[in-house]
C-alpha cells in the first residue's frame, strides 16, 4: 500500500504544482475553468485512492535492468535528436516512440516512450549528459514503482517523465549548492 500511496502522491504532486502555477497566473473565466478542473482532479485522485485501497492487486516489479537500460537510452536518444540535431521535440519523441513500438515488446516500448517525454526537455532544463542519464534512471525507477497504480490513465507516462525531470533538476541543484 505504501508503494501505491507514494506513486499516487507523485501524480498528485506533479499535477498540483502545475495547476497551482496556472491558477496563480489565471484571470477571468480561465480562472474559474481551472478551479473546476482542479476540483474534479482532486475528486478523481480521491476516488482513485479509495479504489486502490479496495483492490490490493498484484504488484509486479518485473526485470528492472532492461527497463532502466531502455529508459536511459530513450531519454538520451530523444534529447540528442532534439538538442544536438535540432529536431522538433515532438518529432524526436514521435520517432523514438515509433521505433520503440515497432522494435521492442509492449512493456519496454512504453518505457521508451515515457523516456522520450523526459528527453523532450530543453537544454536549459537538462543541461548535459549526466542530467540526461540521471533523468533516465529516475524514469525507469518511477515506471517500475508507479505503473500498476496509474493503470489506464492517459498521460501517466508523461507525468512520470515530468516527475523524473523535476527530481533531476532538484538533485543537481542540491549537488551544485554543496
Amino acid at each position: 500500500m505504501y508503494r501505491k500511496l507514494i506513486s499516487l502522491l507523485l501524480l498528485a504532486a506533479v499535477g498540483i504544482v502545475l495547476l497551482a502555477g496556472d491558477l496563480a497566473g489565471a484571470r477571468g473565466w480561465a480562472f474559474f475553468a481551472l478551479v473546476g478542473i482542479t476540483a474534479f482532479f482532486g475528486i478523481g485522485l480521491a476516488a482513485h485512492f479509495f479504489a486502490l485501497k479496495k483492490n490490493p492487486g498484484g504488484e509486479e516489479f518485473g526485470n528492472c535492468l532492461p527497463i532502466m537500460a531502455v529508459a536511459v537510452a530513450g531519454v538520451a536518444a530523444t534529447w540528442c535528436l532534439s538538442v544536438k540535431l535540432g529536431l522538433n521535440t515532438a518529432v524526436a519523441s514521435g520517432l523514438v516512440g515509433l521505433l520503440a513500438a515497432l522494435v521492442l515488446p509492449g512493456k519496454l516500448a512504453a518505457v521508451a516512450y515515457t523516456a522520450s517525454f523526459a528527453g523532450m526537455s530543453s537544454l536549459a532544463v537538462l543541461t548535459g549528459l549526466p542530467m540526461v542519464i540521471c533523468a533516465g534512471v529516475l524514469v525507469g525507477g518511477f515506471y517500475i514503482l508507479a505503473l500498476p497504480v496509474y493503470e489506464g490513465i492517459g498521460g501517466k507516462l508523461g507525468t512520470m517523465a515530468a516527475g523524473a525531470v523535476l527530481a533531476t533538476v532538484l538533485i543537481f541543484s542540491l549537488l551544485g549548492g554543496i
Binding site: 501524480l11 506533479v14 502545475l18 495547476l19 502555477g21 496556472d22 497566473g25 489565471a26 480561465a30 475553468a33 481551472l34 478542473i37 474534479f40 482532479f41 475528486i43 478523481g44 485522485l45 480521491a46 476516488a47 482513485h48 530523444t78 522538433n88 521535440t89 515532438a90 518529432v91 514521435g94 520517432l95 523514438v96 516512440g97 515509433l98 513500438a101 515497432l102 509492449g106 516500448a109 512504453a110 523526459a118 523532450m120 526537455s121 530543453s122 536549459a124 532544463v125 537538462l126 533523468a135 496509474y150 493503470e151 489506464g152 490513465i153 492517459g154 498521460g155 501517466k156 507516462l157 508523461g158 507525468t159 512520470m160 517523465a161 515530468a162 516527475g163 523524473a164 525531470v165 523535476l166
Partner: protein, 135 residues
C-alpha cells in the same frame, strides 16, 4: 482565435489517436507516436502558429491513450480533450522546457473527467433510489 485553433488541434489529434487505438487496435504507444510525429511534421507547414500547436497535438494523443476503464465513452474523451486545450493555453508559462508537461496536462484532465463521471453516476443513482422509494 488561438483558443479555437488549440481546441481544433486537440480534438483532431485526440480523436485520430482514439480511432487508431480503439477502432484499428494499433496499440496506444504506436498510435500516439504516429500522431505526434505527423503533427510535428505537418502542423508547422499548415499554420503560422503550427509549431506552437504541436505540443498540444502530442498532449491530446496522450489523453486518448486512456483505457476504457477511465474514458469508456467517446464524449468523455472529447470532454477531456477540450479541458486539455484549456489547460494547455493556461499553462503556457508553467513547466517551460520540462519534458512530460503534456502528459501531466493529459493525466489531470483524464482524472478530472473520470472523477466527475463517477460523482455524477453516484449522484444520479442516489437520486433514482430516492425517487423510487417515494413512488
Amino acid at each position: 482565435m488561438f483558443y479555437l485553433q488549440t481546441i481544433a488541434v486537440s480534438l483532431g489529434a485526440g480523436l485520430l489517436t482514439w480511432f487508431l487505438t480503439r477502432r484499428l487496435h494499433r496499440g496506444a504507444v504506436l498510435s500516439s507516436a504516429v500522431v505526434t510525429l505527423t503533427a510535428g511534421l505537418v502542423l508547422p507547414e499548415l499554420f503560422a502558429q503550427g509549431g506552437a500547436l504541436v505540443p498540444m497535438a502530442a498532449c491530446a494523443s496522450y489523453v486518448s491513450m486512456s483505457a476504457d476503464t477511465r474514458l469508456g465513452k467517446l464524449w468523455q474523451t472529447v470532454l477531456a480533450l477540450v479541458l486539455a486545450a484549456v489547460l494547455y493555453v493556461a499553462s503556457s508559462s508553467i513547466f517551460a522546457g520540462v519534458g512530460g508537461k503534456g502528459g501531466t496536462i493529459a493525466a489531470i484532465c483524464v482524472m478530472a473527467v473520470w472523477g466527475s463521471t463517477r460523482i455524477i453516476k453516484g449522484l444520479s443513482k442516489s437520486a433514482a433510489d430516492f425517487f423510487a422509494s417515494l413512488f
